[in-house]
Symmetry: C2
Subunit: 406 residues, 2 copies
């Protein structure tokens, strides 16, 4: 009799987004005339830029000819894209990352989950609280999280690092030993960023303890502040302790186009093995590369036209973030994030619970948000607002929420 992976049975339902959808639908049914604006979506809304669609059209044409056809590509990604990434995202910032340290993939979500394959199941994992659920669930599936404690909303074997107002929503290195540490900066859901100094402390911690930092910078394109690193490899010592996950999803609107990459430096060794070699073997065995057409689209992001066009879109979302942040702050609400990130982390007034405030805003302003408690216990009394909507709708939503407090 086949044995299933029992760890799957320990997973609680993915309650957050389904419950948000259920409450919106219920409100809609009761108030069919209401025009609900969603500041809850974590997906981009601007179309692909012309440089990208032109490159994809050209690649589709190639694929339709005998001379231009591309079959299996390298599992690690085409050299033209790995080179463009090495140059455009690293060398241009004075960071030396070689193409053979870059693994092109179908998504940062896939890689953040799949990277677990190369690590033993007995490692101690540290995550932020609140947190992007994929880090938790993939470790739970692999058996690293222990048992789920319903009453606490926590797993028994994970180390939770509270991200709260007092630490700027960016934890300092912990006292306990953690083998694998997930850091997401700019952060989903809080919109906070790790300063150079704090990130250096984590790099030092990891090198001292033989830990590995899994650095998720899917929202890197939103970094605007001078003192915020764009890549962990700007930090001295990171090449011996960090793996970086990057994505074209938010940078270039690729959520429906599926392209990302993971950087595993050659110096990163544990247990006598190069992690680059292990990840390469994992990818060659369980992955077969990203579509040629998509890789051509991604490479176009690094052309001067592509760069200008995607930055215009990022600017559009940034302006939304500013409108939300400034508009709600002016109404007396306390907002975090939204400067170097597309997410605004709003403190509920008078410590009202996340879900209660979610309901208030939905009922009184007809604006959908995401309750912070859904991302972890320390998210209680916060809600997440996103800057990915349409500009006019975003203005209207902010105006409506402001009116709640007049």
């Amino acid at each position: 009799m086949v044995k299933i992976n029992d760890n799957f049975l320990k997973l609680p339902g993915s309650y957050l987004f389904s419950e948000v959808a259920r409450r919106i639908a219920a409100y809609n049914a009761a108030h069919p005339e209401a025009e609900i604006i969603k500041l809850s979506i974590g997906d981009v809304t601007r179309p692909l830029v012309p440089a990208v669609t032109q490159a994809m059209h050209a690649a589709v044409d190639e694929m339709g000819t005998a001379e231009g056809f591309h079959g299996y590509g390298p599992e690690q990604g085409y050299e033209f894209l790995r080179q463009a990434i090495a140059q455009g995202d690293y060398a241009s910032r004075g960071v030396d990352i070689q193409p053979n340290e870059i693994f092109v993939s179908d998504g940062a979500k896939s890689d953040c989950g799949n990277i677990g394959d190369i690590f033993g199941t007995d490692n101690i994992v540290a995550i932020c609280d609140p947190v992007y659920p994929v880090y938790v669930d993939t470790n739970a599936m692999a058996g690293r999280a222990g048992e789920y404690q319903e009453e606490l909303g926590r797993w028994s074997r994970l180390i939770y690092m509270p991200c709260v107002e007092a630490n700027g929503f960016a934890p300092e290195p912990i006292r306990e030993r953690a083998d694998i540490i997930y850091i997401c900066s700019p952060n989903n859901p809080t919109g906070a960023v790790m300063s150079r100094e704090k990130l250096k402390a984590w790099v030092d911690y990891a090198n001292a303890n033989g830990s590995v930092i899994l650095f998720d910078s899917a929202y890197e394109a939103f970094v605007a502040s001078e003192d915020v690193p764009h890549t962990i490899f700007e930090i001295e010592g990171a090449r011996t302790c960090a793996i970086e996950f990057r994505s074209f999803s938010k940078t270039a609107g690729f959520t429906g186009n599926r392209c990302a990459y993971t950087v595993v430096p050659m110096e990163l060794e544990r247990g006598g093995a190069k992690l680059n070699t292990l990840w390469n073997r994992r990818q060659c065995t369980k992955f077969n590369g990203v579509p040629y057409v998509v890789q051509r689209g991604a490479a176009a992001v690094y052309t001067p036209e592509g760069r200008a066009q995607i930055m215009a879109n990022i600017g559009y979302y940034r302006e939304n973030a500013r409108i939300i942040r400034e508009g709600l702050s002016a109404a007396g609400l306390t907002c975090f994030g939204g400067v170097d990130a597309p997410y605004i982390w709003l403190k509920t007034p008078d410590g009202v619970g996340s879900w209660d405030f979610f309901d208030q805003v939905l009922n009184r302003a007809n604006v959908a948000t995401t309750p912070g408690a859904g991302f972890g216990p320390s998210g209680e009394s916060y809600i997440r607002l996103t800057a990915f909507g349409e500009a006019q709708a975003t203005r209207t939503a902010v105006e409506r929420v402001r009116n709640m407090f007049r």
Copy 2:
């Protein structure tokens, strides 16, 4: 200190294809004038058909507009594609598979590997010998294969089912208990197929033992014989014991376009859990769907024009297979496969070793092949030839090999 997954260190190097490439390169260097024809490639060479490129162009255009833009799609695939698959690959053959039993993915290789996530690591796995290396390596990575025994070229905990001339290269159910059984039909590398009768015996075995059959039919489009099933779900009882992997790679030339799907029937339960639910959770957590543009291309395969166009390509490869099979048989060589599959499994004359015959054919006919021994011990004294080349080159290659035996 982080612990790596030690199972990775047990994996022997992936010797086969690198050694083939090395020998070809060495011969080329010594004989720069030689025009080597590769009957070794397992990749398609015909371009994408017009119905597919037209659909992809239209989808790229959509993605470039605010109204037509698609962000995150359903992790399981768009309904339009799941419907088209359910209708085109199943209902059309009288097989009832519902769209919610179909999971669209980026490749059968990915799915064949990732499916292991939902099973415990203590299951006993049975594979064919010779075999597609992904089944072995992914189980070795997960710790299900035991230790690698260098001298035998085998893993200690896997059950190897010899596929030899006596059983038509398709094993009967075994006496031992196997929890997970990989069956690939049409087979890579032997080109053999499982008859309805033999497949029924396996389905009965699996249902009697609570096993799960992982049925890889990536080469289904090549099935021509009446008595060969196109899907395992043509077999009574399969819905309670089988998962099927299908791909657009060989069907529609998508090796560089990356689209496949996996069918997990609703009735398939083990340990009180629906495997459909487990796989859905796995995919939602560690995968984010296939590019919209690619899914539109895949859906075009099911239109009347798309169907006619891809079948013309399959016909082209089939004709290559016929030329290889008949040409070499007429020269007194013994060939298997190549009727319902793009692979011809050639028995070496006088029991010569795979690698020796590979060298002979390379040196004397300037034709590259793949030594059968590379796929497992029972592949010794066979070589694999593929029908994916250009028609004229394939004819020339066959002529050259024939001349070796004149």
